[in-house]
């Protein structure tokens, strides 16, 4: 077990699955400009995954390629959080999911850009600029939903209730993550979580949204256990590589 390899997969698998989910909306967005926005964000995610998998393959040193890591692992080997697997739902849910993730990524990459690991720091610094823009985009929408009609407020409230219990899973640790944290390679996930809760609470206060009182949080993220949706996501994601092994674009 290589802690750094595990950690890179954790970060890369999130963006891969978030990217795959948003990609489902290609050509199906609520209107043309938003369709483009979602697929642009999805593309940023895939680019970040690509950089991270490239580095992970190097760290693992078994001659694997980016495609091997992205497309040819088994369900239990994926370390993404369960939030990334949630269906796009209506637009409130689609945007809220990306909003929650953008706040997380913003804090994560801000710390990772000064990581003791130079390559991870470079990838984080590069990704941070992109993530800040995603945050601006999604928080603008959430503000609009929260200050909009009864319909938009209800939908946003439902989305918060649906997704809230999956948010803690973003901060679940992978095996060996504590060691990396002690070496100054990765941040302490508990600190990240506190930071995230603080920032989201501040935004929610500004937007006039209530945080659910129910403190129940889903467990199992980043352990190889997934929601029932994940199998379907993998089927679609891996179809080409499984059906036509080694096919290239």
């Amino acid at each position: 077990m290589n802690p750094l390899f595990n950690y890179l997969l954790k970060v890369a698998d999130d963006t891969l699955i978030f990217g795959q989910r948003l990609g489902e909306l290609c050509g199906q967005g609520p209107y043309l400009e938003e369709d483009i926005a979602l697929t642009n964000i999805a593309l940023d995610y895939l680019g970040q995954s690509n950089n991270l998998y490239q580095y992970a393959a190097k760290v693992q040193d078994l001659g694997k390629t980016v495609d091997d890591l992205a497309f040819l692992r088994l369900e239990k080997e994926y370390l993404n959080c369960q939030l990334s697997e949630m269906p796009n739902g209506d637009y409130a849910q689609t945007i809220l999911k990306v909003y929650f993730f953008s706040v997380y990524q913003k804090i994560l990459y801000t710390i990772l850009q000064v990581s003791e690991d130079a390559q991870l720091a470079a990838i984080a610094e590069k990704s941070l600029k992109e993530v800040k823009y995603h945050y601006t985009h999604t928080s603008t929408w959430i503000k609009m939903f929260a200050g909009g009609t009864e319909e938009s407020k209800t939908r946003l409230k439902n989305a918060v209730e649906n997704l809230w219990e999956y948010t803690a899973g973003m901060f679940a640790e992978t095996e060996g993550e504590k060691d990396l944290s002690q070496l100054g390679i990765a941040p302490n996930p508990q600190d990240l979580y506190e930071n995230w809760k603080f920032l989201v609470a501040e935004d929610f206060r500004n937007f006039g949204i209530e945080i659910p009182e129910n403190e129940f949080m889903q467990k199992g993220s980043r352990t190889g256990y997934h929601t029932e949706y994940f199998g379907y996501i993998l089927c679609e994601l891996q179809y080409m590589q499984r059906t036509y092994p080694n096919c290239v674009w």
Partner: protein, 154 residues
């Protein structure tokens, strides 16, 4: 003796062909490492810029035509910024119909109006924060009504 940057400047950006990859700031280093072998360091604009694959191929192909083997290395750090786009390239962008990015600014903290590349009016509005490529956003001029691309500060 080859002037490597002059050779590299022959390669247009695949998505915005009016500017070349040197003007865009993608080329970070270029040197001969032996009599007929060059080392070219390039950096991506965005993590997922799909043009990077084409650019690498274009460099290898063009150098091969000149009898040089090009080793292309992609480095992420120091990270690319729109500040590296030359003034000349900014003007080329504007003439092409793309409003160039401001220097030394981050998009989120930018409240200055985006000038219409056609009529020069500052009375413009954002249509979408995103556009046809990762590096652009969509705007429209309220005076001449022309829709235009804006190259985001990055």
């Amino acid at each position: 003796m080859y002037n490597l940057l002059d050779i590299l400047a022959e390669i247009p950006d695949p998505e915005i062909p009016v500017i070349n990859i040197v003007d865009l700031g993608i080329v970070r280093d270029a040197k001969m490492i032996s009599e007929n072998e060059a080392e070219i360091v390039i950096t991506p604009t965005y993590s997922a810029c799909p043009a990077m694959f084409n650019i690498e191929e274009d460099i290898i192909k063009l150098f091969k035509e000149k009898g040089i083997k090009a080793n292309v290395i992609t480095k992420i750090s120091p990270i690319w910024t729109t500040d590296w786009i030359t003034d000349e390239a900014r003007e080329k962008l504007r003439i092409y119909g793309i409003t160039p990015p401001e220097k030394g600014a981050h998009e989120d903290h930018l409240n200055i109006p985006k000038k219409c590349p056609r009529c020069g009016s500052e009375n413009t509005r954002q249509i979408s924060r995103f556009g046809s490529t990762l590096c652009k956003a969509s705007y429209q001029c309220n005076d001449c009504l022309e829709p235009f691309d804006y190259f985001k500060c990055h």
